[in-house]
Subunit: 436 residues, 2 copies
């Protein structure tokens, strides 16, 4: 019966981690989602569940709820998660929810909403433990014990001086191993690494991963401690940035929830880069048109167009992927500019000789006439690959030097350049060696 | 003078974080590296520095050192880092170093070396805090205070029963907020998430990121606690896996240190995938050869080959990247198989109509003869893009169903299939509409 089914589902949900419930939820139909959520809404997991959902699943679900209900749920959540949800919702609905929240909760959320969502300010949690440097170890332990709620995990205790300016850090363990009367300022580690509220989230991720930190404190312009970013937030950032970079490299926009988006949204996200490659193709078309006379004399030339252009395109993809990823992971030093380019050029030359040689032999034995066809197509593959490896390397490096996002812009530039130069090189080599 | 320069460098190095020193080091010449390392070797940062180096920089550097020196350095390191280094070195040299280590240190490292480097066992640290469940809170705090070295950061305290079997977990903070006489078994959280020594490191990363953990305990077959994997190790794993996936998608092997590798190593890593695309090109060559008669009659057909094949290849790259990344991040549920395919098919159809339409109009006004050329090339782009989007989606999904790594295998299969079908479709459409 209905009642029994609901009860079983309720039991199942309370035993499942909200992250897992959110994962299952993503794959349910609209109707099933509604039924499951009606049950979920009665449990105290509802807040954790909502903050685990993808934005494009969360927004339509939440929009049907009353602002009062959402205000109650959001007030229970960590304020950085609460701010993320309000940020994602329609402005009017967000304002209604905020008006239903208690003043203290609302102010905390409003504070966070003023920062760009991709900055340290937008990522940080303002619920964290800080202690004045004048406190003794004993007083500090008492404070830790008294703190009723553990909103963010405590592992570093940040130490402040004056009206909340960052002074240092101690670990909970150091607190335990020092005598109770000693002052915090005498045991703390000074020169603690921090980021500012407007630091880009990628830079925050870099700091945390480079120095193996579990959290990094966030300070405002006056060096006042205003929040912390924890490593679990950074893991999400890293995963999201990697997904965006993948999509950008393939020219599929940078919306990491693209799989959840509709057909028409997919079309809009993916059309621009295809347009760039369309332009490249049209230019190749004009170039081939210009060599019509030569083509009439040696028709066999047409059959080699795909392989010559394809080999160039593929090695260019390799080169630019290696360079774009090297830029993203900080492995490329811009001072090594010429070293990287020359290496890729050598790789292109060697692979060009290899695959040009293969094709040259194949063409020599496959086509009796013209005698030099093997030489022409072999040389053309060689030229196409050496040129493509070089261009595939140079373009992202130049974009980086001009501070243009290499992941987005590399694809269209490289594709178009390779298409045009590849086909032009081929017909010029043919014209020269075949005396056309 | 020489002496002064060395002293300044020494001062600089001791003030710099080893991770930053390692970053700078990567960009030095061989000679500079030697000089800097000679100074570094005198500081107590040398162990941290070596473990921050990329493998391909570390190995040649370390091979010139005496086994005794390396044994001393390695004994000071966290044993998981020590094991990683010995794993990377030549077997003989590794054995010499191990023979110079003290027995206790050597046994710890040998213990770790038995696990696959890409498993939880290969990733874990055996230096961690565990407490028997029968202990009281007071006794536990005393134990934490006594522990002299803090090799791994303490935030979770794992609780064991019997001869070291995992029973539960408490946080250091919970220890502080409970009365001293209470037994750990009465305050611990039971049902703690754990992984086994042979769990794949990607799965470990998934557990840590899915449940926002700072560490996960590793147990052996008898559920005995043998180590922990911390979130900072997982961050490195995630970055490495992302880099490997990028390279694989571009058919550039999966060696994440490819930028540091020589030209010839690059050639070896990158040649195989180019061979697959070479085969695709040769097949396209034969297909076009088979339509030589038709091509003679309408030479203009040749000029459209690059754009028709290019548009297919590019939309296929988008589709397969979206799907491969969706599989990697767990966003694709294999039960949605047909939904995903139909959506990509619709995207391909719409974009095919759009760009086919553009090109049809261009060809119609650009070429007086044959009259239907616009229709032919428009239809061909449409066919090429709809087919490519579908194949680009289906191939990774099928590979995944047969448990083949979609990131590696997608490229060659998709490229070859698209090349052959694209050019075949084009000439068949031309033959049909132009009555060739």
């Amino acid at each position: 019966n209905r009642r029994g089914a609901t009860e079983n589902l309720l039991k199942l949900i309370t035993k499942t981690h909200p992250a897992d419930t959110a994962w299952v939820f993503r794959h349910l139909s609209e109707l099933e989602r509604k039924e499951v959520f009606d049950i979920l809404a009665q449990t105290d997991q509802v807040g954790d569940f909502i903050s685990e959902l993808d934005e494009s699943v969360m927004v339509p679900l939440v929009e049907n709820l009353s602002p009062k209900f959402m205000a109650d749920v959001i007030s229970e959540m960590a304020s950085d998660d609460a701010a993320d949800i309000i940020e994602a919702l329609d402005d009017d609905f967000g304002a209604e929810i905020r008006s239903q929240m208690e003043q203290a909760d609302r102010e905390e959320v409003d504070e966070l909403l003023q920062y760009h969502p991709e900055s340290a300010g937008g990522l940080m949690s303002p619920d964290f433990m800080y202690l004045d440097e004048e406190l003794s170890v004993g007083e500090a332990i008492a404070k830790v014990q008294k703190r009723s709620e553990e909103k963010e995990m405590v592992f570093y205790l940040y130490i402040t001086f004056g009206d909340g300016k960052l002074a240092g850090v101690v670990s909970l363990r150091e607190l335990l191993t020092n005598p109770p009367h000693r002052q915090l300022k005498n045991i703390m580690k000074k020169n603690v690494l921090s980021v500012s509220t407007d630091t880009d989230r990628e830079e925050v991720a870099h700091v945390i991963s480079q120095y193996n930190l579990l959290a990094v404190p966030v300070v405002d312009a006056s060096y006042t401690l205003v929040g912390i970013v924890t490593v679990d937030d950074i893991i999400d950032v890293m995963r999201e940035e990697a997904t965006e970079a993948f999509l950008q490299m393939a020219g599929a926009g940078k919306d990491r929830e693209i799989l959840l988006k509709s057909t028409s949204e997919n079309v809009v996200l993916r059309a621009p880069w295809l347009f760039a490659s369309w332009i490249g193709g049209v230019m190749a078309l004009f170039i081939i048109g210009a060599f019509e006379e030569e083509l009439t004399k040696v028709l066999a030339l047409a059959a080699f167009i795909p392989i010559i252009m394809g080999m160039g395109g593929n090695i260019a993809t390799q080169s630019s992927t290696i360079v774009v990823r090297g830029i993203a992971t900080g492995r490329i030093n811009m001072e090594d500019f010429h070293k990287i380019i020359f290496k890729e050029m050598r790789v292109g030359v060697i692979l060009g000789i290899l695959y040009g040689g293969f094709l040259g032999v194949l063409a020599y034995f496959g086509y009796a006439e013209p005698k030099l066809l093997g030489l022409v197509v072999g040389l053309s593959i060689f030229f196409s690959m050496a040129m493509a490896a070089t261009i595939g390397t140079v373009i992202p490096l130049i974009l980086k030097r001009f501070d243009i996002d290499a992941a987005i812009a590399t694809g269209p530039f490289v594709t178009t350049a390779i298409d045009i130069l590849g086909v032009l090189g081929y017909f010029m080599i043919a014209k020269f060696f075949l005396n056309l």
